[in-house]
């Protein structure tokens, strides 16, 4: 790796590790100090290595510099050491004895502690996702703004408010206890699930950004798997779901960032390795008696890794959606369930059920009705597709609907 690439590479991989350890050391009250120290570390390294050349083990050097900088900081900020170091209660030592532990284990533990702090229900979900990207994945305000399709002022305020809330609620950055894990894991998983979806379902044209969001969500979920206390069936189920979904990442996006529908995807582009990983973690998820929505969604995603339409596939998908809707209703699950019903029980049944859904504000509802009426009553199908068009402003959706419409337009 060239020197010009090395620093950005290390910044991406090491910044968040070092900063997580310092966040945990300093507490939520002083996260800016932690960030300043790590930024200084990288600045110093790039200056120094530019002059003297890259050392033999750059990561180890970085860690040493970060440790020294932290110790310097503690030494030179007398106010900090007198007043605030008392607050460094997590380590339970005075600053003279503080060992800045940058071992893999402590890095992982610190990141896990940060996940639980950041995904605290005192903040709304969108703030949790923003904070996770900012504090755990070291995304800049601009990058997060791009991901959320908004401007950087909005994100800046959202992050400030989120951090302030964590401070006023005195949220601790520490290894969560067993009962806390059971109580808070659902919120943590939901945030990671939403973070993944932000990348996977976004209509953002920036494909590499979307991929990064998915990868970060997977990385954080994997941290939970690596820890014995948080390695629960639902975590494995969520990770499995992410593996199955991302196995189709390349196949479902065309070069303009538009979505390629499932039936038009080139299965050669499906990532076999990720599919196998998904199966592996779905197996692990089935140990125990918990059945979360992630289990059901992962199982549905598993069946979608079989491209051919078989009776068994669609019957299984239908029953999984039947169960999923009983755990948690969502309009999209209701629509997907009705599509599976058409495949498993026939269009006649599905039309009757679809008419009952009454999701009259949802363009996907009319797109589904258009699909169901195709070849049964093409005039009706056309009407529904037209209604669907009038309800969406997304260009890629319009293209998809338009393509389906061609099948029912009389020639």
């Amino acid at each position: 790796m060239k020197q010009t690439e090395l620093i950005p590479h290390l910044f991406r991989t090491e910044y968040r590790k070092i900063v997580a350890v310092l966040y945990k050391l300093f507490g939520i009250e002083h996260i800016e100090i932690a960030e300043d120290i790590v930024s200084d570390t990288f600045l110093l390294a790039s200056e120094l290595w530019g002059l003297k050349g890259v050392p033999e083990n750059p990561t180890a050097r970085l860690y040493t510099v970060a440790k020294n900088k932290t110790k310097d900081y503690l030494k030179h900020h007398s106010i900090f050491t007198q007043k605030i170091s008392k607050e460094i209660k997590y380590s339970g030592t005075t600053f003279h004895e503080i060992e800045i532990d940058l071992s893999t284990k402590n890095i992982n533990d610190s990141q896990l502690a940060m996940i639980f702090a950041v995904c605290h229900p005192c903040n709304p979900a969108e703030a949790q996702i923003g904070l996770a990207l900012n504090l755990l994945c070291s995304f800049s305000v601009v990058e997060i703004a791009n991901a959320f399709f908004t401007n950087k002022e909005v994100i800046y305020k959202r992050l400030q408010r989120g951090k302030e809330k964590l401070r006023t609620e005195k949220i601790k950055i520490e290894q969560p206890g067993l009962s806390e894990i059971n109580e808070r894991l659902p919120v943590v998983l939901l945030t990671l699930y939403l973070l993944f979806n932000e990348g996977y379902y976004s209509s953002n044209q920036d494909i590499s950004l979307r991929k990064d969001l998915c990868l970060e969500a997977m990385r954080l979920t994997y941290l939970l798997i690596e820890n014995d206390y948080t390695n629960k069936p639902a975590v494995n189920a969520l990770f499995s779901l992410m593996c199955f979904h991302s196995s189709r990442f390349e196949a479902r996006i065309n070069e303009d960032g538009g979505t390629i529908l499932y039936e038009d995807q080139d299965t050669n582009l499906w990532d076999k390795e990720l599919i196998e990983k998904g199966e592996y973690y779905l197996n692990l998820a089935s140990k125990g008696d918990e059945l979360s929505k992630y289990h059901l969604e992962a199982a549905i995603a598993y069946w979608h890794t079989h491209k051919e339409d078989t009776e068994q596939k669609w019957e299984n998908i239908l029953q999984l959606y039947n169960q999923l809707l009983q755990i948690e209703y969502s309009p999209i699950a209701a629509l997907n369930r009705t599509f599976a019903l058409a495949k498993a029980n026939g269009k006649k049944d599905a039309i009757a059920e679809a008419e009952k859904l009454n999701l009259i504000d949802n363009h996907l509802y009319y797109a589904l009705l258009g699909n169901l009426y195709t070849d049964i009553d093409n005039a009706k199908a056309l009407q529904h597709y037209q209604k669907a068009l009038s309800l969406t402003s997304s260009n890629s959706e319009k293209v998809t609907i338009g393509r389906n419409m061609e099948k029912v337009i009389p020639r």
Binding site: E315, Q319, L325, Y329, A334, L341, N345, E353, N358
Partner: protein, 113 residues
Amino acid sequence: MKDFLLVFRTDYSNTPNASPDEMQAMTKRWMDWMGGIAAQNKLTDRGNRLALSGKVARPGNIITDGPYSEIKESIGGYSIVKANSLDEAAELAKGCPILTIGGNVEVREINEM
């Protein structure tokens, strides 16, 4: 939206023994029916099945085998749905698979205490 109790009744003594295939088909019909109600966001609680035999406590410290010897029909299970009106709840009950084996569904509004 209000909650309504659906009570499934049929004469179980009179149901012919079903083959495994028929039983599986029946289970699917129940699952699809429940899924359809859930897809309308109208399922409050899928409820449970009840065991066929039971006992009834009566005045005077008397326990009898039950539920009722005078009618053959017995309660096989219950679910709770939500709907805007009794009519709407009854509409949901129309697709219940118990109707295909000669049973019926009683629909009652739940008045919270």
